[in-house]
């Protein structure tokens, strides 16, 4: 019986428990005695008492069961295997659990392995039976106990509501857990990486060549971050050069000049554009913009590669126009009308009002929007994977191919998941760098925007 079936049965039992509680509370409430809560709450309370402990038991077994069984199996092993090194032991256990689950293993399993597998299988079955029995006991006990407690004075609603509130709070903890998970996994794996390569070499190295070098005797390859960082900054700068003027002017036009019907049409359109997958922009860069720029370069006599920093930056700029414009639009419309009216009353034209009153007033917010746009550009992956050309060399020519942090993460970590070599571990060091950069930009942006909001609230 798998866990899903168990949960389904548990839910059915909980539904029954609800009915029991409901009926019980109605019987208690005869002779004009008023219940504290409505009958449904008594039902829910009984259902919770019946279901939650049983569910907790199931969770406990799912989390700890495997390690417990392994521990018991290891104890029963003949001494020559039990004293093996940690590595061999874990390989052994992996083979045994594969055998116990009737999966194929490489080679013919040995006598000891088969015995251990049989032992493990029996322990697993036993553990499972015990869990199911314990669940049944817990469910019935909870049901009976809760049913017995039902009385008109029982504050069932308050108890049920407390459980609901706790459940809601736990859900909001998932966000924290995610962040913790990101930080722990990044930092942990990056530390592993720094055992191979010193942080100084990584952060200040100017050569990126992660392949096993054939000439040097280190045999590690070179992992210098700077060419990648430089490429990232170059592409992002080009993107912002495209997106900021276009996005800001669009926002100004939308907020100050556009008639209502145009706003009503354009706003959803812009929103939809923000939802186009980046892989689509990447493909567009590769087959339309790249060749176009290359032809244009031939026309004026400069050599522009089809996949270059310029191609990627340009398309990334197109991608973040909607982002910049909708953020700036929100901020511009938040500037109080009194400021505009004052300027207009003094005889300023509309554009003068915008440039000399509205924009300066909105500046902090707009700066915040740009920082957010920059962080998005830095973290963007698919456009650069397809259109930047993957050439991790330090150079200042935007018409040449570059490589970025995100591209390199993809290149280093696709394929096999071998977390032992610096070649794949470097992805986490790069990811950590990326995370810190974007986090820094976001924090600054949020602080700036919050200040700005408070100013006008």
């Amino acid at each position: 019986m798998n866990n899903l079936a168990l949960i389904a049965i548990l839910l059915i039992v909980m539904a029954l428990a609800y009915q029991v509680g409901l009926t019980r509370s109605r019987t208690v409430a005869t002779d004009g005695v008023r219940l504290h809560s409505r009958p449904g709450y008594y039902g829910m309370l009984v259902a919770l008492w019946c279901g939650l402990p049983a569910f907790a038991l199931l969770l406990l077994w799912s989390l700890a069961g495997t390690s417990l069984v392994e521990l018991l199996v290891v104890r029963q092993l003949p001494p020559e295997i039990a004293t093996l090194g940690e590595r061999e032991l874990s390989t052994f256990l992996r083979r045994v659990s594969a055998l116990a689950a009737d999966r194929a293993v490489s080679g013919t399993p040995s006598e000891t392995e088969l015995a251990a597998a049989a032992h493990m299988a029996s322990l697993q079955t036993l553990g499972r039976m015990i869990t199911i029995a314990a669940m049944a006991v817990a469910a019935v006990a909870g049901l009976v106990l809760a049913r017995g407690r039902i009385s008109p004075q029982l504050r069932a609603r308050n108890q049920v509501e407390r459980v609901i509130t706790i459940a809601l709070a736990l859900c909001s903890g998932v966000a924290i857990l995610t962040t913790v998970g990101i930080v722990l996994s990044m930092v942990g794996e990056a530390m592993n990486f720094f055992r191979f390569i010193s942080p100084a070499e990584f952060f200040f190295g100017t050569t990126w060549n992660p392949r096993f070098s054939t000439s040097g005797d280190t045999g590690q390859g070179e992992f210098g971050l700077l060419p990648l960082l430089w490429g990232t900054l170059m592409v992002s700068a080009i993107a912002l050069l495209v997106a900021v003027p276009l996005g800001l002017m669009t926002a100004i036009y939308m907020a100050e000049y556009a008639p209502a019907w145009l706003r009503n049409v354009a706003k959803p359109v812009i929103e939809v554009l923000a939802g186009i997958p980046t892989i689509v922009y990447g493909f567009f860069a590769l087959i339309v913009i790249g060749p176009f720029l290359s032809d244009l370069g031939d026309l004026v006599g400069i050599s522009i590669r089809t996949t270059s920093a310029l191609t990627a930056g340009l398309v990334m700029g197109i991608m973040i126009i909607p982002f910049v414009s909708s953020l700036s639009d929100d901020i511009i419309t938040q500037v109080p009308k009194a400021l505009r009216d004052g300027a207009l009353g003094l005889g300023a034209t509309k554009s003068e009002t915008i440039r000399q009153v509205v924009l300066p007033a909105a500046l902090p917010g707009i700066v915040g929007a740009f920082l957010l746009a920059a962080s998005r550009a830095i973290g963007e992956t698919m456009i650069v994977v397809l259109a930047a050309g993957n050439n991790p060399v330090l150079h200042a020519n935007p018409f040449e191919a570059v490589s970025t942090i995100t591209v390199t993460i993809v290149n280093q970590l696709t394929g096999d998941m071998d977390f032992a070599s610096p070649q794949s571990l470097v992805a986490f060091a790069l990811g950590l760098t990326l995370f810190v950069i974007t986090l820094g930009l976001n924090v600054i942006a949020l602080v700036v925007v919050r200040r700005y909001r408070q100013q006008y609230e």
């Binding site: 509501e161 459940a167 809601l168 709070a169 859900c171 909001s172 903890g173 998932v174 966000a175 995610t178 962040t179 990101i182 996994s185 003027p245 276009l246 996005g247 002017m249 100004i252 036009y253 939308m254 100050e256 000049y257 959803p268 929103e271 939809v272 554009l273 939802g275 186009i276 892989i279 689509v280 922009y281 493909f283 087959i287 339309v288 005889g347 034209t349 509309k350 554009s351 440039r355 962080s375 998005r376 973290g379 992956t381 698919m382 994977v385 397809l386 995100t406 993460i409 993809v410 970590l413 696709t414 998941m417 977390f419 992805a427 986490f428 990811g431 990326l434 995370f435 974007t438 949020l446």
Partner: protein, 454 residues
């Protein structure tokens, strides 16, 4: 000096003159500024229009493929297999299944290629033996499996002649659509001169037509038979992932938003969670991929390339979006609703679940749909958890190997047969964009339909 001697009247007249003189220039600047704004809007829209048009122009033709209409003779000389087994009375289901499978594998050993060759020869007349290669380059290799499956389905075809639709090979499709320069010398052509001549001849005679092809929708990806590579596997993978996202991220996201907006005490921890969520919303998606690779695959040992893992990663990624949208929606419900409910004796939980939440539902739904649409189009994190592996089957469960629609686009754009796959990729993009835009349109419609101004 002179100004001192001027009367007030003169001074004001002078000032007025200055203002009037500058007025033309200021109005010109005003017009210029306004035109710049309009220019920005037009440029932005124009660029996106170019994007859509270029993808549509490349992609739409790919829905039609060069297709053969051939009279195929199921020649008993070639197909020498016994009768399809029929279940006898008293035979157990597994024993019958075994006999059936054995029969199927015997059918699989039949030389189906020869059947196709004969059908082509019937159109082209006899050919020399050395031309067999050229002949076989006409029809995509997947068709012989399709023929086998058709026979397994209906063994009474034996000895019959049926008119069948068969996909031409990718190179023939490219050649007939003119997606390759026809004047290129032989060495640079993918097809031999003989095959090209045949293709042209058959096209002129109407044996090959450009017909709407369902292969793109019904088949899975293929490496050997490029012309019949389709999106079915990727579509199922994406569907499974979206199910995981909907089942996990919508309830968790809505619950945390309710807690933060309605119940959370204003303290340090709540502040921390808030800042956290805002930051998570802006963390690059690829970082979530790294998280998935390290935790779900490296630590928890979940299988590589599984839609379940992809769904979990995308869940974590969309969670902030849904939380932020839900909170905005809850916040827009006026306090008077809450006060009224509390005033007649409802508890806080009752107020929220009976009154506030139903009113906020349209906004929550809109935000959730947008979040799911965003997850549908995400590619980068999936590359890091191995979903870019080649998978030739439609996944049956969320734990089987699979790819996803955007990843399939990524894989196809990198295919060596550029001439064919540029169009195929664009067609896949059209399918993906179609799905996403309908989700977006649904969200916008919902908002318009149920929008309430308090």
């Amino acid at each position: 000096m002179t100004t001192d001697t001027l009367t007030i009247e003169e001074r004001s007249r002078q000032r007025l003159a200055t203002i009037e003189a500058s007025l033309a220039g200021r109005h010109a600047r005003e017009r210029r500024f306004r035109r710049m704004g309009l220019g920005a809007v037009v440029t932005g829209m124009g660029l996106v229009l170019i994007l859509f048009i270029s993808i549509l122009m490349r992609g739409v033709p790919a829905f039609w493929q060069a297709t053969f209409y051939l009279d195929v003779h199921f020649d008993p000389e070639v197909i020498q297999v016994d009768e399809k087994p029929v279940r006898e009375s008293g035979e157990s289901a597994s024993a019958f299944r075994e006999r059936e499978l054995a029969w199927m594998s015997r059918v699989g050993l039949v030389n189906w290629q020869q059947i196709i060759d004969e059908a082509l020869k019937a159109e082209l007349g006899e050919i020399e033996a050395r031309q067999t290669r050229d002949l076989r380059a006409l029809i995509t290799s997947g068709e012989r499996h399709a023929l086998r499956d058709r026979f397994i389905e209906d063994p009474s075809l034996l000895g019959e002649t049926v008119r069948l639709k068969m996909l031409a090979s990718a190179n023939v499709d490219v050649w007939l659509k003119g997606n390759i320069d026809r004047s290129l010398p032989d060495r640079q052509q993918q097809l031999s001169a003989q095959t090209r001549e045949w293709a042209d001849e058959l096209y002129a005679r109407g044996v090959i037509t450009n017909a709407f092809s369902t292969a793109l929708f019904l088949n899975t990806d293929s490496r050997s038979s490029l012309a019949s590579a389709g999106l079915a596997g990727a579509f199922m993978g994406s569907l499974f992932m979206m199910l995981v996202v909907i089942v996990l991220s919508v309830p968790i996201g809505v619950a945390s938003a309710i807690y933060l907006e309605e119940f959370a005490p204003k303290n340090r921890i709540t502040d921390l969670i808030e800042i956290n969520i805002n930051n998570l919303a802006a963390v690059p998606s690829i970082v979530f991929g790294l998280l998935g690779a390290a935790i779900f695959i490296g630590y928890l040992g979940l299988p590589l390339s599984a839609p379940l893992v992809g769904g979990l990663v995308l869940t974590l990624m969309t969670l902030p979006t849904i939380i932020i949208a839900t909170r905005a929606s809850l916040r827009s419900i006026p306090g008077s609703i809450r006060q009224a409910a509390l005033g007649i004796g409802a508890s806080r939980v009752q107020t929220v679940f009976h009154h506030v939440l139903p009113l906020a539902l349209p906004g929550i739904l809109t935000g959730s749909i947008l979040g799911v649409a965003q997850a549908l189009g995400e590619t980068a994190p999936l590359l890091l958890i191995g979903m870019n592996a080649f998978v030739a089957n439609v996944p049956g469960t969320p734990l089987e190997q699979s790819t996803a629609l955007p990843v399939q686009i990524y894989l196809w754009q990198g295919n060596e047969l550029r001439n064919f796959f540029e169009a195929r990729t664009s067609a896949a993009i059209i399918v993906l964009l179609g799905l996403m835009l309908s989700l977006n349109a649904l969200a916008i419609w919902l908002r318009k339909r149920f929008e309430t101004r308090w």
